[in-house]
């Protein structure tokens, strides 16, 4: 407590998030005057050095933005380059991409659930401690995570920075025989994932809501992952509803080519990450947004699990706005991704050739996919020989920063109303609030929309 009655909570380095960030919170007379998620991850200048590279290179290069969700980067890059070159990758090649992405979802979401988020619900520091009391659940989680990695490894060669993705498709596609053992394993893991949903549904969740617009891709008939149209759901306050309402609200969609007209990034002095806003308003991407926008397209087994877990039925217009419960939505997405992977494998016919030609073209292309932690947008401008002359990457965490800071303010304010917390309590609470959104700091630290000058 400072002399002027201002109380500061500074957390030097956030644990159990991917990347380097700190928290800075100022409280004065029961009011939160400042809540900053301070990202000090050193900048890596991807957009600058993408200039001058060949149009075939962004998938491999941008993969290195993030070791947690490399597939998201590779596939957003592919989509953007293919968009510029007016090439459509569809059929079994598109299905394989979705399968690969399912692998990353399973891996990344189970990583977050078990290794990063769940310890918060048990009041322990890490998964090793968690395993002392929840050994079977942790082992199940690691096995699920491994199953996700196996998908990425089979299709991509390795789980981190896969080598098999290329603009136009793949370098090599698997045979049906190669996929068969994977399917056998996934059938087991589907049951494990259903158990996972039940496990996390039993956690103790604080009451909370979030008054942000929710932004996710939408693709009619399916739970959008590797493609779709950006779609935003109105924030509750705009509809005169409380932040924790579970009602679906009106949505609006916009063309991916107009993405940078809607989502605008700005720089803040305390962070190497750029903040972005949607049509001038705070927004949130990720599991809660996807579940709100695409939930009704979940497979029956995932829908049933969601309902049993208390998330309600998205087909009836129920959404989840409690960020603490995002762990349940993630678990449902794991189950869905396994189910979806099985569906794709069962319908698989090896495409030939493994990639379509993508001749370069002087144009600007846009691409977005649903990274595990939210919408990831890429834009490239190519010259006639395919050289990249301009690049822009908008990762989910950059978009979510404003929402995270607002959640911090809201939660801390609420907590202060219930009495004076200790610094340790407050710190732990803030960390939980941040981890609710699985921020990926590495992703967020190197971007800017060039038009902001």
């Amino acid at each position: 407590m400072n002399g002027d009655g201002t109380r500061e909570v500074k957390l030097g380095a956030l644990a159990r998030v991917e990347g380097e960030a700190a928290l800075h919170l100022c409280v004065r007379e029961g009011e939160v005057t400042e809540a900053r998620l301070k990202i000090y991850e050193p900048p890596r200048f991807f957009e600058a050095f993408l200039r001058g590279r060949a149009h075939t290179e962004p998938p491999d290069l941008t993969s290195r933005v993030c070791g947690i969700c490399p597939v998201a980067y590779q596939l957003s890059a592919c989509r953007a380059v293919e968009d510029a070159c007016q090439v459509v990758v569809d059929g079994q090649l598109a299905a394989l991409r979705r399968l690969l992405y399912c692998g990353e979802w399973i891996e990344s979401q189970t990583l977050h659930i078990h290794l990063l988020h769940a310890p918060d619900f048990f009041g322990v520091d890490n998964v090793i401690e968690l395993a002392r009391t929840q050994r079977a659940e942790v082992e199940r989680g690691l096995r699920l995570k491994q199953a996700g990695n196996r998908i990425v490894e089979l299709l991509g060669g390795r789980s981190i920075h896969p080598i098999n993705v290329r603009v136009g498709g793949f370098h090599r596609v698997p045979t049906r025989d190669e996929l068969r053992p994977l399917a056998e394993r996934l059938r087991w893991e589907r049951d494990a994932a259903a158990d996972l949903v039940r496990w996390v549904a039993g956690f103790d969740f604080p009451e909370a809501g979030c008054d942000h617009e929710l932004l996710a891709l939408a693709e009619p008939g399916t739970y959008a992952i590797e493609c779709g149209t950006p779609t935003a759901m109105t924030a509750p306050s705009a509809a005169g509803l409380p932040a924790d309402t579970d009602r679906a609200l009106p949505t609006r969609a916009f063309d991916i080519h107009d993405f940078s007209d809607h989502v605008v990034e700005r720089q803040v002095p305390y962070s190497t990450a750029l903040h972005s806003v949607l049509d001038g308003r705070r927004h949130l991407t990720g599991s809660l947004a996807r579940y709100a926008i695409s939930g009704r397209w979940l497979s029956p087994v995932a829908l049933e699990a969601a309902r049993d877990a208390g998330l309600g039925d998205p087909r009836q217009g129920t959404v989840c706005r409690n960020p603490f419960r995002s762990i349940i939505v993630r678990a449902v997405e794991v189950l869905y991704a396994i189910d979806e992977a099985l569906r794709i494998i069962e319908a698989y016919e090896p495409p030939s050739p493994p990639a379509v030609e993508v001749p370069p073209r002087a144009a600007t292309g846009h691409g977005a996919t649903e990274a595990p932690r939210g919408l990831l947008y890429h834009r490239y401008t190519l010259d006639a020989r395919g050289t990249v002359t301009d690049a822009s990457l908008v990762p989910p965490t950059a978009q979510n920063q404003g929402a995270i800071e607002e959640d911090l303010r809201r939660t801390v304010r609420g907590r202060l109303r219930d009495g004076e917390p200790t610094d340790a309590e407050l710190t732990a609470l803030c960390e939980r609030v941040i981890r609710n959104h699985d921020p990926c700091i590495s992703c967020s630290a190197h971007f800017l929309d060039l038009r902001v000058r």
Binding site: R16, F45, F49, D60, L61, R64, I68, I160, H161, N164
Partner: protein
């Protein structure tokens, strides 16, 4: 590795500028993770734990390159509290993909990415850990190989020299039984000049190696570069091929500069 009084050795994992992938590799050791935690005390690993144990650490794994003045100071501290320091991955070992800044004016880079570049404090270069402190072992790869990471940890526990060969990808490619993509398909492949460790993945998927493990210990560029040209790469392609994740490795740096002068 003997430790005082038979206690469990203490492991620390540190991060500098990187994508997190190499430290994530430790969490990707699903089969071994809980076992590792039983044999070593994971004393410092921010990505996985909010608890930090007391110094010194028996083994420090360092992910990422040095790009800021604060990080240059931090790595000195890490060295001073670590009995063994092993760098993990191309960033920590060769500056990583962000070392592409070494070829450009960073002020310009900063201006391209950030609207208010004055907020961003960064060094003009991205440098490997070994440019700042002595390093006991450098584990290659973008990302590192899970098997090699487990080998380093188990070898450390047994007091054994880790089996991390420095030869080229070709050795592993042949052991894997993949027909050479250069010979059989005329596909440009950096395998003959690239450090093994990945298990020769790319050729097994029908693509040429793109050098993510950096240079091997025995390279003959004058004989090798003409193969790339024969198989369709022009000067710019050759420069780009060596300017990726290990661009600041001295051998790759030199050959890319030489090619760029052509």
């Amino acid at each position: 590795m003997s430790t005082d009084g038979g206690r469990r050795p203490k492991l620390a994992v540190w991060k500098f500028a990187s994508c997190d992938g190499c430290q994530l590799t430790l969490l990707d050791c699903e089969d071994e993770l809980l076992g590792i935690a039983e044999e070593v005390e994971i004393s410092y690993f921010l990505e996985a734990s909010s608890a930090a144990g007391p110094v010194p650490y028996d083994l420090s794994l360092v992910d990422g390159s040095i790009t800021t003045r604060q990080d240059a100071e931090r790595v000195q501290h890490i060295r001073s509290v670590s009995r063994r320091l092993v760098t993990i991955g191309a960033c920590a070992t060769a500056g990583g993909v962000q070392a592409l800044r070494n070829y450009a004016d960073v002020a310009e880079f900063r201006a391209v990415v950030y609207a208010k570049p004055e907020y961003i404090a960064t060094l003009a270069t991205s440098t490997p850990i070994s440019a700042h402190v002595p390093v006991d072992l450098e584990l290659r790869g973008c990302p590192i190989d899970r098997g090699q990471l487990v080998e380093v940890i188990t070898a450390f526990l047994a007091g054994r020299k880790p089996d991390v060969p420095d030869h080229s990808v070709c050795f592993q490619c042949k052991q894997r039984g993949t027909p050479c993509v250069i010979v059989a398909h005329g596909t440009p492949c950096l395998g003959p000049v690239t450090h093994a460790g990945c298990g020769a993945l790319c050729p097994a998927y029908g693509r040429g190696c793109y050098g993510c493990f950096g240079p091997s210990n025995s390279i003959n560029f004058p004989a090798f570069i003409p193969l790339l040209r024969r198989d369709g790469m022009d000067t710019l392609d050759v420069v780009r091929a060596f300017r990726t994740f290990n661009t600041a490795a001295p051998e790759f740096d030199a050959v890319s500069r030489e090619e760029a002068r052509r």
